[in-house]
């Protein structure tokens, strides 16, 4: 296990909001409102992060080094001066992967017990 993977393990289990934010930032830097929209889209409108929850999570994740505020801004036509963008870090990626692995394991166990649909 690499150093970073080992460090990632210490963050588990991840608060749901944190996990969703990491997923939202997986492929692109986004600003806060975009994160909220992305999460809502992916969950089919089921999870609407509140601004408070979002920024409290973001503050924590910045401190923990899961995300950063990149120095370079997106291409000028997309940029909105007033907005702050966030980017996932390698540690953030590792933590998200570790959490996904943990959840998969859990689901496997649940299936074996007949709690969830799908193959045992």
């Amino acid at each position: 296990m690499s150093e970073i993977a080992r460090e990632a393990e210490t963050f588990l289990p991840l608060p749901p909001a944190t996990f969703h934010i990491l997923i939202a930032l997986a492929d692109d830097d986004r600003h806060g409102y975009a994160v909220i929209q992305d999460v809502a889209e992916r969950t089919g409108g089921e999870l609407k992060l509140s601004a408070g929850t979002l920024y409290r999570s973001i503050q924590r994740m910045l401190e923990q080094g899961l995300i950063v505020e990149p120095r370079e801004r997106p291409a000028p036509h997309e940029d909105d001066e007033r907005r702050r963008y966030y980017r996932i870090t390698p540690l953030g990626t590792a933590v998200a992967k570790a959490e996904a692995r943990r959840l998969t394991q859990l689901v496997k166990l649940a299936r074996a017990a007949g709690f969830a649909p799908g193959r045992a």
Binding site: G32, Y33, S50, A51, G52, Y55, R56, Q59, R83
Partner: protein
């Protein structure tokens, strides 16, 4: 939108600055999307429900982060952390302990319902401001008074309980049926006394204190209804009082009834003062009104009985104020001292934190520069000081819990409260409040600094001290510490002088090597003189034959013992009529019956004439040995031997003169003393004064004095197996007990003064060290320019001398004021006692020198080259 901005104020400022705009933007968007009034209202409700918990969580996050940060920085500077915590612990511990005792004795209301309507009633006579009531006066006054809802009387009672095992002696109180209802307390088991129980000739009934019920009756509910034998008479246990009920004092184990009859109200009884009266004022009657009424009633009975009630007044006091002036002062002094210690501790901590804040200027400036808001920094500093205060406070409470029992001696035994205070919720709340106030108070100073203008100076390489203003603040704090410690040193010094003065008082006898005990001789079994004499002769003879014993004797009551009164009128002209008049303070003397050998056992010097002898029997002329002050009063300058006076119903001839004895206590006024022969009294008369307290002088070392006790016990048991032996103690212990509360007070105040001394020295050290380190470069430059070590030395020392002077002068003035206010505790030592003042000033100088030593040496060792290089 303004509403949302307002909501955001719930968040910590740092968070709001960081994310407030973004969050507002998101909210604005949502508000725009909300099409109608209904969805808008829903959005608002949702937002409020969301912001409140999130804001709390963010606050929690910040706190956790700050605590983490503070813990890390404190771990890096353990010396600072430990010093700070200890200083707080001392301050809080001292204050909490002092408060718990003061609160217990002075502040908290007595444990009775509506305690501010409970009063004590006394008689007063010239020279005696508070005298117990006589039974006839009590009956008359009670019948006449309208101010009381109820009024009852009580007196001390001691009984010999026999049953299984050795007979034992117990202390209780004999009360009239009204006393317990007056206090408003009912038994937890069984019933209270009724008027029938208190009637003349009624069968004996007893109520148990909770404590005695537990220890003697095993807490058995069936104890009620049992019969016990007190003084060979059966008494029925009728009830048990609650655990918190102590009356009239904490050592009372049981209550019986007075059962007064007509004989107790005889005219001759009007001058026999032995009853304590407690009453409850009728609702609506003020203390002033009741006093006015009692004055009228007392004046009436003075007219009615001009001889017996000559100059007799009535005194009404609140039960809660029945604490002696001395106890009150003592506790106030203690509280004042504790407050001083706390103030010094706070000043010191403020200084420590100020110095630390200055030392961390660079760090704070850097953090401010990289965007940490001022609010975050302040918050962090406050977290730090509060954390230190809370840890210190917790430790301080532990200190208080441990030390409060040591202060129990400061609780007067005469109060209707438990003997020892405990640290309870009340005290803990005060301690917690003190802790928080302390944390905020000493945290504020550096915060005030950090809260200043965003100062980039801190970033500049080689930046020096924080300017004159903070220096002045720190100097003022150190000065305040010196002032407080001078006050404490002087107060402690004065009390030590007072203690030494009291200890140096000659009690009139030699307490070392004397063993004492009490063998209550039950009446009427020992009512006849011959029976008693046989007992004394046998017991004293056998004890004197024991190895190591040099002399032994019996007396009515030993000096400074349980019974310190016993004053009878004297008439030197053979005027028996005058001898019955007890109403003058200047014609009374203490009465004591003694056996031969008593003066020798006590080593009371015989000045003239002879000791009592075995031949002074009832058939011979009645003799008396008197004290020197007795001779001075009645026959100044003349030879008293062979002179006559009337005392205790008979004519007495003076055969000897002995030194005066402080029978009432070391610090009390003592009347002249008259000693009578134990044999020269009628059978069954004055048996209260029959000799019952034994003094045995030995050549044994004090530490091994107790080894003689079994032998003496065996001798007494053989003489009479039914006699209880109580109050076995050395005479030295009895005398030491006289100064016990003083010693405790001196020790406590000295401990406070010492703490203050050390804290102030630390304060001076800290300030000067800092000043020197700030001026290292200046010193280097001066030395490079040719300044001598002596110049540098005088520069530092001038500073410390100025500090010391600025602290000592107001300190001495304040100490004098403190001394004046506790003059009553000083046993005649003057508040301006030169020795004490000189010693305190000397110690303060020493404290300053000690505090400045290390910084001075450091200044002298400054190397000009390296000092300049850092420039």
């Amino acid at each position: 939108m303004r509403g949302y901005r307002l909501l955001l104020r719930l968040y910590p400022a740092s968070f709001r600055h960081e994310y407030g705009d973004e969050m507002s933007a998101i909210f604005a968007r949502r508000l725009r999307d909300a099409s109608n009034l209904f969805t808008r209202a829903a959005l608002w409700i949702e937002t409020i429900a969301e912001v409140t918990p999130n804001a709390a969580l963010v606050h929690w996050d910040v706190l956790a982060q700050d605590l983490h940060y503070v813990a890390r920085t404190l771990r890096r500077t353990p010396g600072f952390a430990v010093t700070a915590v200890l200083i707080v612990a001392l301050g809080i511990g001292a204050t909490t302990a002092a408060f718990s005792v003061t609160d217990f004795v002075l502040i908290r209301p007595l444990p009775f319902p509506e305690p501010d309507r409970l009063v004590k009633l006394w008689e007063s006579m010239p020279g005696y401001p508070r005298v117990e009531l006589s039974a006839p006066n009590y009956r008359d006054w009670k019948a006449a008074a309208k101010s009381f809802a109820s009024l009852g009387v009580y007196r001390a009672a001691a009984v010999t309980m026999t049953g299984a095992g050795e007979p034992r002696r117990f202390v209780g109180s004999s009360v009239s049926a009204e006393v317990l209802p007056t206090l408003g307390v009912s038994p937890i088991i069984g019933r209270a006394f009724t008027a029938d129980d208190d009637r003349d000739g009624a069968g004996g009934t007893v109520m148990l204190s909770y404590q005695w019920w537990q220890t003697e009756f095993g807490g058995d509910p069936n104890a009620v209804g049992q019969s016990v034998i007190f003084d060979n008479t059966p008494y029925t246990v009728i009830g048990v009082m609650p655990r918190e009920f102590h009356f009239p004092s904490s050592d009372v184990l049981f209550w019986t009834t007075n059962r007064f009859g007509e004989r107790d109200y005889q005219p001759s009884e009007r001058t026999n003062n032995y009853l304590y009266a407690v009453g409850r004022l009728r609702p609506g009657v003020t203390l002033q009104q009741a006093r006015a009424e009692m004055d009228v009633i007392a004046a009436q009975s003075m007219r009615q009985y001009p001889k017996e009630n000559k100059d007799t007044g009535a005194v009404l006091l609140l039960l809660g104020e029945d604490v002696s002036q001395r106890s009150r002062l003592l506790l106030l002094a203690l509280s004042g001292a504790a407050a001083c210690v706390l103030l010094i501790a706070c000043a010191n901590l403020a200084n420590l934190l100020l110095a630390r804040a200055l030392g961390r200027r660079r760090e704070l400036a850097v953090r401010a520069a990289i965007g940490a808001g001022r609010e975050r920094l302040i918050r962090q500093l406050m977290t730090e000081s509060l954390l230190l205060a809370i840890v210190g406070g917790a430790l301080g409470i532990a200190v208080a819990v441990v030390s409060v029992p040591l202060l129990a001696r400061l609780v007067p035994a005469t109060l209707p409260i438990a003997a020892a205070p405990s640290v309870d919720v009340r005290v803990l709340i005060v301690a917690a409040a003190l802790t928080v106030v302390t944390g905020i108070a000493f945290g504020l100073a550096p915060v005030a600094r950090a809260g200043g203008s965003p100062d980039l100076e801190g970033l500049r390489e080689g930046s020096r001290s924080g300017g004159g203003q903070k220096e002045r603040l720190r100097s003022a704090l150190v000065m305040a510490e010196i002032v407080m410690s001078v006050v404490l040193l002087v107060s402690a010094g004065l009390l030590i002088r007072a203690l030494l003065t009291v200890q140096a008082i000659d009690p009139g006898f030699e307490p070392e090597g004397v063993l004492t005990m009490r063998t209550e001789l039950p009446m009427p079994a020992y009512g006849r003189v011959a029976t008693r004499e046989a007992f004394y002769a046998r017991v004293l003879g056998e004890i004197r034959a024991m190895p190591g014993v040099t002399s032994a004797g019996y007396v009515s009551f030993l000096p400074m013992g349980s019974m310190r009164g016993g004053i009878w009128p004297v008439s030197v002209k053979g005027d028996v009529e005058a001898a019955n008049d007890t109403r003058r303070a200047n014609n009374v003397a203490a009465i004591r019956y003694v056996t031969p050998g008593y003066f020798e056992a006590m080593a009371i010097p015989l000045r003239r004439g002879r000791d009592m002898s075995a031949s002074d029997s009832r058939e011979r002329p009645f003799v008396a040995v008197v004290s020197e002050s007795f001779v001075r009063r009645y026959w100044p300058g003349a030879d008293p031997i062979g002179r006559h006076f009337t005392f205790a119903f008979a004519d007495r001839e003076v055969v000897g003169v002995v030194a005066d004895v402080r029978f009432r206590g070391l610090e009390r006024e003592n009347e002249p003393q008259v000693y009578l022969s134990s044999m020269q009294v009628a059978d069954g008369a004055i048996t209260f004064y029959s000799p019952k307290e034994l003094a045995v002088r030995t050549t044994t070392q004090p530490a091994t004095l107790a080894t003689l006790v079994p032998g003496i016990r065996a001798i007494i048991r053989q003489a009479d197996p039914k006699l209880p032996i109580t109050r076995v103690q050395t005479l030295s212990d009895m005398v030491d007990l006289e100064t016990a509360s003083r010693s405790v007070q001196v020790r406590v105040l000295s401990a406070f003064a010492l703490t203050a001394f050390v804290l102030a020295a630390i304060g001076i050290h800290g300030l000067l060290s800092f000043a020197v380190s700030q001026r290292t470069q200046e010193i280097g430059v001066r030395m490079a320019l040719g300044a001598q070590s002596s110049d540098i030395l005088s520069m530092v020392l001038r500073r410390s001398a100025a500090l010391a002077l600025a602290g000592v002068i107001p300190g001495v003035a304040l100490a004098y004021a403190a001394g004046r206010s506790m003059e009553a505790l000083l046993a005649g030592v003057k508040p301006a006692d030169t020795v004490t003042l000189a010693a305190a000033v000397g110690l303060s100088m020493l404290m300053t020198v000690l505090g400045s030593l290390a910084p001075t040496l450091r200044a002298l060792r400054v190397d000009p080259i390296s000092a300049l290089r850092t420039e």
